[in-house]
Structure formats: C-alpha cells, structure tokens
Amino acid sequence: MSGRVLVGVKRVIDYAVKIRVKPDNSCVVTDGVKHSMNPFCEIAVEEAVKMKEKKLIKEVVVVSCGPQQAMETIRTALAMGADRGIHVEVTGKDYENLGPLQVSKIMAALAKKEDVLFVILGKQAIDDDCNQTGQMTAALLDWPQGTFASELSMEGDKIKVVREIDGGLETVKINTPAVITADLRLNTPRYATLPNIMKAKKKKIANVKPADLGVDITSRLEVLRVDEPPQREAGVKVETVDDLVARLKEAGRI
C-alpha cells in the first residue's frame, strides 16, 4: 500500500458570517457571502500534513466537491502543505442537492482509485452539521473508522485513535486502510500565509466529474423549507420571589 492519505475538505460559509435565509424560505443566502474551508476540515488537513512532516506518510491528496470556487478551498489546503488536489466538479442543481451520501460515494471511489492508507475528514460541516460523510464512507468501503479523533498515532500498520465521546475519551486501535474524522482538539491548524499560497500555485489540481468515477449523485432528499430560528423573546423582570412563583404558575411551569 502507498503511504498516501486522502483528505476531504468542504467549502462552507465562513464561520463568522451572520447567516440570512432567502425571503422565499428555500435556502440560505450564499451569493456574495464570504466562504472559507470548514474549520474541522482545516484540522484534518493539518493532521495529514503533520504526519507527512514526521515521515509517517508519503503523500497528502486533498479532494473537494463543488463548483469552480471549490478550487480556492483546495488551494488553501495545498498552501497548508498538501501535495496535490482533486477537484470533483459538481455544479448548479446537482451541487445544491449534494449531501453526505453522494460525497461519501465519491470519497469511497477516490479512496479505492488512489489506493490510500487512510481517509481523513472533518467530523462535520458547520453549514449542514450532518456528521455523516466519514461514517458513510467507511461503511461503503467496509473499512474501520476512527471518528471524533482527538489524537492519532501510527503503530506499525495499525492506527491508534483516541476518540472524544460523551463520557470522556476512548482509545481504539484500527487496521488500515481506515477512515478518520477529526475533532476540534486534534491539533492547531496553521494559517495559509501569502508566501505559502504563492508556492502552492505550482501544485497540481486534477479535475474529475462524478460520472468519471462511476458515481450516481442523484439525491433522495428534498429540502422543503428553510427557516431562521425563532427570535428570542425579551426577558421579564420581577420584583419579589412570590411574584416569580406566581408568574411560573401562570406559565404552567410548576
């Protein structure tokens, strides 16, 4: 097996932007809005690059699915230290309906094609919060998965993963090839500075279509409606404890 690692990255609306819903409630406003790489994907890229710097793996291949603008996200990953990129071109209506199932089919096809040691992704995207792509990819490939990884280490040809779970931390050892999803505390991603971006322009980004990989990206889900969360109502101030109790009784809370 090659020492190759596949990293999946997603272009999402920047985390600091205030999200607006379109007036017809069909979707979120994305035109003219600042986009950037999903924060958890940055952590995944950083982990792969770190492992390459420690000579544990040989090559970092970064992949993103989407329209032309997804190339910017791939370039950022290349500036962080990835070796080459793959842009899976999905545009228009197909892109609007692109969900975890379709992406995981694409990732599975690419993982087999590139003969990778493991696939690493962010645990979830901050726009849809699905937390499904990594798990689905592992299932489609029938590979072991180390999700919510807060620590990764190679032990021979196995990977030791410390996972962040509700009760604390769980350590598992999985065979390669495998699928890993990165959690917040895995590492501190480096900033893609201007000199690195300039250097990354020389790196190659291959262009493929889902059909070339033999993947059918039709979606079985239909978004009916998108709403903003309900506005927070103003709080009410009370003078005494009896008043508070009376109000709570009124609201049916006690």
Partner: protein, 83 residues
Amino acid sequence: MANPLRSEVVRLYKNLLYLGREYPKGSEYFRDRLRSAFSRNRAESDPQAIREMILRGEFVSRELEALYYLRKYRAMKKRYYEE
C-alpha cells in the same frame, strides 16, 4: 531605504496586508493602520533599525495568526461543545 532590505520590507507589507483581510474590525481599518505604520518609518536608513522593525512586523503577523486561530477555536467550542 537600504536596497537589500527593501524587498524584505515589501514582502512583509504584502504578507501583513493579506493577513489583515480577516481582521475583526474590518480590513479597511487594518489597512489604514498598516499604511500609516509603514509610512511613518519610510525615512529610516539605519539597517539595524530597519531589521528590528521587520522583526516587529513578523511578530505582529504571528500575533494575528494566533488571534484568528483563538477566535475560531472559541467559536467552535461554544457552538459544538456543552460548557
């Protein structure tokens, strides 16, 4: 300006300008401050002093990277992890 150091100063300026795009108070605010900081020292000719200023500029860029990282980390922690 000393000639060999000129390219370093220009490089530093470009890097800081690129970093300033994400500045929380706005990239225009950052760019104005950056411009005035650089033009204030344009008459400087002592290579040692220039080198010190370049080092300070590099320090500022590291500080900015740390600022951006912390902002993002805190936002993610607040949104996804129960306090």
